[in-house]
C-alpha cells in the first residue's frame, strides 16, 4: 500500500514502507555449549495461516566465525543476507589477516535494524547471531526495532515464551554437543506441539572455532497416543 507524501502531485514520488510481513518464519533458538554455539530453526515459512514453504533454510553461516538465524519476513532476511555478504566481501578484500567476528556482525545488524526503524521502514525480522572467535563464544539477538542483547541462550517469537523457560531451567555451562542437541530438540518439540506455524522439519547448526556445520533436515518424533485422544467422541457421541 503506497503512502503518499505531501509533494505528491499524482503518481510521481510516493514513499513505500513496510506495513506487515507476508511470508514469515517462526522461532529460532540458540544456545552456547562447550565448544561454541548451537542454533535450531524449523524449515517452514508461512503465508498468513498457510504453511506455504517447507524447505526454507533459516540458519546461515556468515563469514568464518558467525551463524545467523532469522524469524519474521523471509524476503527481508534475504536482503539482510545480501548485505552481510557484501560486508564480508569487503572485509575479505582488505586481505589483512583479520576477519569480522560475531560481536562485529551483531553490531552491524543492530545498527542496520535500528536505522531502518528510525526511517519507519523496518526489516521485519528477529535475528539470532552466534559465533566463536579466538575461543570467545558469543550469542546475541536483535529485534526489528533494534532491541538487542547477548546471553547464554536466546530465542525469538514463540521460542521466547516456550523455550526460554526450559533453557533457564536446564541450560548450564559446558554442555556437551549431544546434551546441547537434546536440549534444543526438547525445546523444538514443545514448539512443534504448541506453535501453529511450526513444521516438523528442522535443521540444527553448530559453530565452533573449527567452523560451521549445518545438519541435514530431519523430523522430530512426536507422541499423540494419549488416552484423552482415544475415542474422542466418547463423552458425546455424534453421527460419525
Amino acid at each position: 500500500m503506497k503512502l503518499l507524501d505531501s509533494t505528491d502531485s499524482g503518481n510521481s514520488s510516493s514513499i513505500e514502507r513496510t506495513q506487515y510481513p507476508y511470508v514469515t518464519g517462526t522461532s529460532v533458538i540458540g544456545i552456547k555449549y562447550k565448544d561454541g554455539i548451537l542454533m535450531a530453526a524449523d524449515m517452514g515459512a508461512s503465508y498468513g495461516s498457510t504453511l506455504r514453504y517447507k524447505s526454507v533454510e533459516r540458519v546461515k553461516p556468515v563469514g568464518k566465525h558467525s551463524l545467523i538465524g532469522a524469524s519474521g519476513e523471509i524476503s527481508d532476511f534475504q536482503e539482510i543476507l545480501r548485505s552481510l555478504d557484501e560486508l564480508i566481501l569487503y572485509d575479505n578484500m582488505w586481505d589483512d589477516g583479520n576477519s569480522l567476528g560475531p560481536k562485529e556482525v551483531h553490531n552491524y545488524l543492530t545498527r542496520m535494524m535500528y536505522n531502518r526503524r528510525n526511517k519507519f521502514d523496518p526489516l521485519w525480522n528477529s535475528l539470532v547471531l552466534g559465533g566463536v572467535k579466538n575461543g570467545q563464544k558469543y550469542l546475541g539477538m536483535v529485534s526489528m526495532i533494534g532491541v538487542h542483547f547477548e546471553d547464554n541462550h536466546v530465542a525469538t517469537g514463540f521460542g521466547n515464551h516456550l523455550a526460554r523457560p526450559i533453557l533457564r531451567d536446564e541450560w548450564h555451562e559446558n554442555l556437551t554437543f549431544e546434551d546441547g542437541v537434546k536440549l534444543l530438540e526438547k525445546c523444538m518439540r514443545v514448539l512443534l506441539y504448541r506453535d501453529r506455524s511450526a513444521v516438523n522439519k528442522l535443521q540444527i547448526a553448530k559453530i565452533t572455532e573449527e567452523g560451521v556445520t549445518v545438519s541435514q533436515p530431519y523430523a522430530l518424533k512426536t507422541f499423540w497416543n494419549f488416552n484423552a485422544f482415544q475415542n474422542p467422541t466418547a463423552g458425546a457421541e455424534g453421527s460419525w
Binding site: T110, P122, M141, I145, G146, V147, F149, N160, R164
Partner: protein, 227 residues
C-alpha cells in the same frame, strides 16, 4: 469511496518499553549510581544480566531505562561526542558539561524522542557529588538524588522520606546533597531496590551499583528476586 480513503493505521510501534529502574544519590564527596539488570518486553524477560549503566567520562556516569535500542544509541552518541571533546580540549568532560550535552542531545530529537529516562551521576568541578535528572526530551535539573524508570514511582517517595530534601523554595538555597556517608548511601540504595523489586514486575534479577569518588570508580552487585 470512503472505504478507500481512510487514514492508514500503524500496525507496529517504533517504541518498546524494556523496563528497569535507575537511582542516583549525591553525597558530599561521592556519588552512587545504581540500576537493576533486568531487560523485559511485554510480560517476558529477555535477559537477567543487562547493564543500564554507562561510564561517559572519568567523573560522569549515566544510568538509563526505557527503550533499550534508544538508550544504547544515546550512550553511543554521548560517548562519541566525549571522545571528540577529548581530542579537541585534551581533557575529560566535567559532569555539569556532560549534563548539558545530554539535555541538548535529547532535545535534538524532540519530535521523534529517544525513549530514554536518564539519571546522570558524578562529581562536579569541586569534587562534590552531583546528580542530574532528565525526562525523555531533555528537561533537566541538578538534584541531590533521583530515580527514573518503572520502579521510580515506588522509590522516589521513599527517598524523599529518608533523605529529607530541603524545599527548593527556601532562601538561601540549601544544598541538596545528602550528609549520609558512602556506606549508608549504598545501603539505602540496596533497600530501595529490594522494595521496588517486590512490587514492580519489571525490576529485579540483579542490582548493579557504581560508586564514584575521589579514589576513582568502583562497581558492586547484589542479587534481587528473580520473579
Amino acid at each position: 469511496l470512503a472505504s478507500t480513503m481512510t487514514k492508514q493505521q500503524a500496525n507496529w510501534s517504533p517504541y518498546d518499553n524494556n523496563g528497569g529502574t535507575c537511582v542516583a544519590i549525591a553525597g558530599a564527596d561521592y556519588c552512587v549510581i545504581a540500576a537493576d539488570t533486568r531487560m523485559s518486553t511485554g510480560y517476558s524477560i529477555l535477559t537477567r544480566d543487562y547493564s543500564k549503566i554507562c561510564k561517559l567520562a572519568d567523573k560522569c556516569v549515566m544510568a538509563s531505562s526505557g527503550f533499550q535500542a534508544d538508550v544504547k544509541a544515546l550512550q553511543k552518541v554521548l560517548s562519541a561526542r566525549h571522545l571528540i571533546y577529548q581530542h579537541q580540549h585534551n581533557k575529560q568532560m566535567s559532569c555539569p558539561a556532560m549534563g548539558q550535552l545530554l539535555s541538548n542531545t535529547l532535545y535534538y530529537k524532540r519530535f521523534f524522542p529517544y525513549y530514554s529516562f536518564n539519571v546522570l551521576g558524578g562529581l562536579d568541578t569541586e569534587g562534590k557529588g552531583c546528580v542530574y535528572t532528565y525526562d525523555a526530551v531533555g528537561s533537566y535539573e541538578r538534584v541531590g538524588y533521583s530515580s527514573q524508570g518503572s520502579g521510580a514511582t515506588l522509590i522516589t517517595p521513599f527517598l524523599d522520606n529518608q533523605l529529607k530534601s530541603p524545599s527548593p523554595l527556601l532562601l538561601p538555597a540549601k544544598d541538596a546533597v545528602t550528609p549520609l556517608s558512602e556506606t549508608e548511601a549504598i545501603d539505602l540504595v540496596k533497600t530501595c531496590f529490594a522494595s521496588a523489586t517486590e512490587r514492580d514486575i519489571y525490576t529485579g534479577d540483579k542490582l548493579e551499583i557504581v560508586v564514584l569518588n575521589a579514589d576513582g570508580i568502583r562497581r558492586e552487585y547484589m542479587e534481587l528476586r528473580k520473579d
